[in-house]
Subunit: 135 residues, 3 copies
């Protein structure tokens, strides 16, 4: 259900770290937002060094942009963003000063996955059961 | 007015399919949200296979992220997301289980195109007429 | 605190223009939204010509997508979008007809930078002072 995009400069993450970062984001989101891991999407968007600027100059941040269904309690979203930022810095070796996490949202009813409108937060179990019944 | 970004693994869409996908998204959005086709932007963001993860492992989804002006009725946005997902799966040959569509929004007054602040939904005709008068 | 992504066709901006565009966005956002320049992130996402469509056909727009903390007054966000669009067109030489700016938002409490939850608009000074005290 969620989609995370991690943007960073080419070469600042090794292949192993990329895999570990994607796996870590998946586990954290799955645990905290009650979504099976198979529904967590993570995209790693690598950029040439001259295409990432911080403060108007080339920089090497790790920018993590996530989308989740609207309606999760705000406290949980704050904890999710903190946990993602901490894990991303630890996994990548990029200092936490250069790691940014932003969670965007829109209504579950504005999103479709596997041909079906997504459920509001709290109604994941019914949605998943309907999917299995329909498969 | 809208911007759609389609993210997928390199090689999973042929050039013809890419064109057809962009054209299909354009037609559907134009018809359903009352925007002339020339104002629909579609970006195809191709990623190396190792940079797209689903469930913590490399995967081959088609992730479609759209932005539209806030204020369209929710039922219409839900129908739009369903129509886009159905057309994207049919055009791409990617099974609907692996196609995800998310529509984000923000106020029309937070967006500028052709040098002018965008109109709220329902006021497209006046905005377009003003543009022709000013050109 | 903000993240801007500029999407355009490869070759439509020279290296000098890319630097100038990133610097201009940084200065404008910093001045108008009361954020030190070092906290403004700008990503330049270059796409092959066949991967950017306008009106269902290949096109050469400059699409600028920004994220900012929710709670800035709407009038200020509108002025920000207008100023960014004007500067982007002037700097890039891309006609304003083909420049689009969209500002998205989510709660400051849904975002983490430098290991800390971002402050609501209007509380930047305390947040920055706390960071210096904690460093």
């Amino acid at each position: 259900m969620p989609v995370y995009t991690c943007t960073y400069v080419q070469g600042s993450l090794t292949p192993d770290v990329k895999d570990e970062l994607a796996a870590g984001i998946t586990t954290i989101h799955s645990d905290m937002n009650h979504v099976p891991p198979d529904y967590v999407n993570v995209v790693l968007a690598e950029m040439p060094p001259e295409n990432v600027h911080v403060g108007g100059r080339p920089g090497t941040p790790l920018l993590i942009n996530g989308w989740a269904r609207r309606g999760h309690p705000q406290d949980g979203t704050t904890r999710l963003a903190l946990a993602l930022a901490e894990a991303a810095s630890r996994t990548s070796g990029i200092p936490r000063e250069h790691v940014m996490v932003v969670i965007l949202d829109s209504p579950a009813r504005s999103a479709v996955e596997a041909g079906r409108v997504l459920p509001d937060p709290g109604h994941e179990a019914e949605w998943l059961a309907e999917g299995r019944a329909g498969a």
